[in-house]
């Protein structure tokens, strides 16, 4: 007969033989049932779980000292018993289920608190606890990773619930998340996490069973719970690398009390006045089981990708070997080419493994919009577009911070207060839209708001005041707007604790520089602003055109080239004797003499004997002057080495077919290197 109550179990423990595996198994089974099927109170659970685990090691023989471990088991059970007798409940500790029922039988009408939980009735410890001594670190790490995923899914679900309070799947998702975290945390001995998850779970259970409505206060509690859980997990991580001390995050106790005393009656009434903050992005339903995935350590993945990159280079060197060109055996050439095809496909596949969709970033931003909007008392609708657009994993991390800052800024300063919007004839709800798409070898992320727009004059006067510029003569709108990214710059009249201090956007610019991203800003006063982030798709095998200038060779990314030609005298003209231009099919473009920009000797100086390569986007086309085109080549872009830092004009180096390094031109930067000269001319 399986003992069911804790007292029974302890009794059995006294009686059994240490060597009788059968008895021990029965005991362990009973403990497991007690711990995981909600029959132990939260105070007891971690101790019971621990005892079960220790018993497990004795049973399977992995225990190093059975006597000591058995002692530990009975000590744990003692603790469990003690914790339950300290509670304000009558002994023996009532099964969890019964207590739940008594809670839920007190519906909204009674509105008063149910008996306070044991943990709240004792004075909560001020200092934290520490990690259990026998923690299995790898189990703990796995737990942390999984819990993080659950939390992410919960957040999305909660935001969906705000827009659609009756969405059942969403509630289930959140409930499952807390329930699972509770169970595993208890198993690992993380008592406070288990307790906390339990409180949150109770609230969610009532929600799931439709006993309460998802009102604004409930929503707040739910989201705060997710935040606290994140913080708790963070504390565990810190404890793992630190000295094992676990601290309770701020807000932990107040939230526990709030969760306990949640009064749905009050919440329900206030629901009618609460502004509807619609922050749920237009997102496909959270997939519940979908794709089969596998976890891979990132350092292994990176090594794999590097090796594949080197394979591409090695293969190119074989294919480019002079012997191959002269070879009289077509068989050999065919085989090498075939190998090349396979290698390139391998390269594409490995690159794709590093790509992640923007979805996760967008979801994170949805939360930021919601929180910021409610903090500043505005109503904002957040929509997203292009979640499936993929970018390199490394880019995502660096991009996240700038986007958070920019979004916060848009809500805090961009969107006007509802009354102002009313007066201006706009809808009271502001709109912030995030859109991601591919465009000529770049990933573009647009942040569009329909707020007050940027005031060029105010920015100019502020910039002059701060000594950033002397006058705005000759500056395009984009250049003026970019001034807002200077450190310390802010035209905000009020500094809120969210923004206005002039710190956030500076971070944006610095982060963007790291990933060589470009930011274009367009704005219409009164109508709104668009921030357009252009990011190069890192690495990959780029198709490049190898060109020769004098004694040096450069690679120009093929996607940037429009065409190349040898100019005729009629096409050339000079401006003020300094800037050179070429006229092609009605378009006038400046000529950049690469040999001058890069101080190359021995280059052709007469444009009529040289080749002009047209590069650039849209209106900013330029003609680069080179000596000759050496041919198309697939190159693997490599960073130029940390010791050199960033060299303006080049985005990296490429290993050419003959093993030498060819510098890859960054078209935009090259153009800006020579613009000052042209500006003088214009």
């Amino acid at each position: 007969m399986i003992p069911t109550s804790l007292n029974d179990i302890v009794a059995l423990l006294m009686q059994l033989e240490v060597t009788d595996i059968g008895d021990l198994s029965v005991l362990q089974n009973a403990l497991l049932i007690l711990a995981f099927e909600n029959r132990a109170s939260t105070a007891e659970q971690p101790h019971v779980a621990r005892a079960a685990r220790l018993l497990g090691t004795i049973i399977d023989g992995s225990s190093k000292n059975t006597i000591a471990d058995l002692d530990a088991v009975s000590a744990a059970l003692d603790q469990a018993l003690n914790s339950s007798t300290n509670a304000t409940e009558p002994p023996p500790p009532p099964p969890r289920a019964a207590r739940e029922k008594s809670r839920s039988k007190a519906p909204a009408k009674s509105g008063t608190k149910t008996p306070p939980k044991s943990c709240a009735s004792e004075a909560p410890p001020i200092a934290g606890e520490s990690l259990p001594h026998d923690t299995d670190v790898s189990l703990l790490r796995d737990f942390l990773t999984e819990a993080a995923e659950y939390i992410a899914a919960s957040e999305v679900a909660l935001l969906t619930l705000e827009a659609n309070p009756r969405e059942p799947e969403a509630v289930n998702t959140v409930f499952r998340a807390f329930h699972t975290v509770k169970g595993t945390a208890a198993f690992l001995g993380l008592a406070h996490i288990a307790e906390f998850a339990h409180e949150a779970e109770s609230l969610l259970m009532r929600l799931r069973d439709r006993q309460i409505h998802y009102g604004p206060a409930c929503a707040d509690l739910a989201l705060r719970s997710v935040d606290i859980l994140k913080a708790l997990l963070g504390a565990v991580e810190d404890a793992l690398v630190g000295d094992g001390a676990l601290l309770h995050p701020p807000g932990y106790h107040s939230l526990m009390i709030a969760l306990d005393g949640y009064n749905p009656a009050v919440d329900f009434e206030s629901q009618e006045d609460a502004p509807t903050i619609n922050a749920a992005p237009r997102v496909a339903r959270v997939e519940s089981a979908a794709e089969a995935t596998i976890r891979v350590r990132t350092d292994r993945l990176d090594r794999l990708i590097n090796m594949v990159g080197e394979l591409v280079i090695a293969q190119t060197m074989i294919a480019g070997d002079p012997y191959m060109a002269n070879s009289l055996t077509p068989d050999l050439t065919r085989k090498v080419t075939h190998a090349g095809k396979i290698v390139r496909e391998l390269q594409e596949l490995s690159m794709s493994m590093r790509m992640v969709p923007m979805r996760a970033t967008f979801q994170k931003l949805a939360r930021v919009v919601r929180d910021t909007a409610s903090k500043v008392g505005k109503t904002v609708q957040f929509t997203t577009d292009g979640e499936d657009v993929e970018i390199d994993r490394n880019l995502v991390d660096i991009l996240a911070d700038p986007l958070v800052h920019m979004v916060r800024n848009a809500v805090d300063h961009g969107i006007e207060p509802s009354d102002d919007r009313d007066r201006a004839g706009k809808s009271r709800t502001g709109s912030v839209r995030l859109s991601a798409y591919h465009s000529s070898g770049n990933v573009v992320v647009d942040l569009i708001d329909d707020g007050a727009g940027l005031q060029r004059d105010r920015i100019v006067s502020k910039a002059i005041e701060k000594g950033l510029i002397e006058s705005d003569r000759g500056l395009t709108d984009n250049e003026v707007f970019n001034l807002i990214f200077a450190p310390g710059f802010s035209t905000a009249e009020k500094v809120t604790d969210i923004s206005g201090r002039g710190v956030g956007l500076d971070v944006v610019r610095r982060n963007l520089e790291v990933i060589r991203g470009r930011l274009e800003i367009t704005s219409t006063p009164g109508a709104g602003t668009t921030f357009s982030l252009r990011l190069p798709l890192t690495l990959a095998v780029t198709d490049g055109m190898l060109v020769r200038v004098g004694t040096e060779r450069f690679v120009i990314p093929l996607t940037q080239i429009h065409m190349s030609f040898r100019p005729e005298p009629a096409m050339l003209s000079t401006v003020v004797g300094q800037g050179e231009m070429v006229l092609l099919r009605g378009a006038l473009m400046p000529i950049v003499r690469l040999h001058r920009t890069f101080s190359v000797r021995g280059a052709i100086e007469n444009p009529l004997a040289a080749l002009l390569v047209i590069v650039g986007d849209g209106a900013q086309r330029t003609a680069l002057m080179v000596d000759e085109l050496l041919g198309q080549q697939q190159v693997v872009a490599k960073p130029l080495g940390d010791a050199l830092g960033r060299i303006p004009g080049f985005s990296g180096g490429a290993i050419l077919g003959d093993g030498c390094v060819g510098l890859i031109l960054d078209v935009r930067e090259t153009m800006s290197l020579t613009t000052p000269l042209l500006k003088l001319a214009s």
């Binding site: 990159g309 130029l640 080495g641 010791a643 050199l644 303006p648 990296g652 180096g653 390094v661």
Partner: protein, 172 residues
């Protein structure tokens, strides 16, 4: 030699005496013999064609392909203001500093010597401001004097110059 020297600020920044003993790879630059800590040497490779990188200081010769990785090459002779020319026996020593690899061009690689602390003396302070803070010390072995470079400082110092130059060029 006992360390009864007054603690000038330059001396205070020197590496603690006990840390200087060890093995050094010695090489020649323009007739002078230098040494650097063998533990920092990754490999020695023969001279190969160096791709020039525009808009870098003169002592940055360019970059090379080291088994698929692009690493920069510094010419210490230019940095130290000596005559630069490719000798027949010129080669490249690849140095690993923290997680950065750089190459330096040298005229000729000499040997690996083990130097005890007693073999190493502090460089004298020349009055005319000769840059001696880039030296760990002066080693004596086999009757010859070897100038022991603090390679981290030598290559780091040039980074700072590097950054300053390239940012000013960028702002122009």
């Amino acid at each position: 030699m006992s360390t009864a020297l007054p603690q000038s600020s330059a001396a205070a920044t020197r590496v603690a005496p006990s840390a200087r003993a060890g093995k050094y790879l010695t090489f020649f630059l323009s007739g002078e013999e230098y040494g650097l800590e063998i533990l920092k040497v990754s490999e020695i490779i023969g001279m190969q064609s160096i791709t020039r990188v525009p808009r870098t200081p003169a002592f940055v010769r360019g970059v090379i392909n080291l088994r698929g990785k692009v690493i920069p090459i510094t010419d210490l002779r230019i940095k130290f203001g000596m005559d630069a020319s490719i000798e027949e026996e010129s080669c490249i020593i690849v140095v690993q500093l923290r997680d950065v690899q750089t190459g330096i061009v040298v005229d000729r690689v000499s040997e690996v010597v083990a130097l005890a602390e007693t073999d190493i003396a502090d460089p004298p302070d020349f009055a005319n401001g000769v840059q001696t803070d880039l030296l760990l010390g002066i080693g004596k072995a086999g009757g010859r004097v070897k100038l022991l470079l603090d390679i981290d400082k030598v290559l780091a110092a040039h980074e700072a110059v590097q950054l300053a130059e390239s940012t000013s060029a960028h702002a122009a």
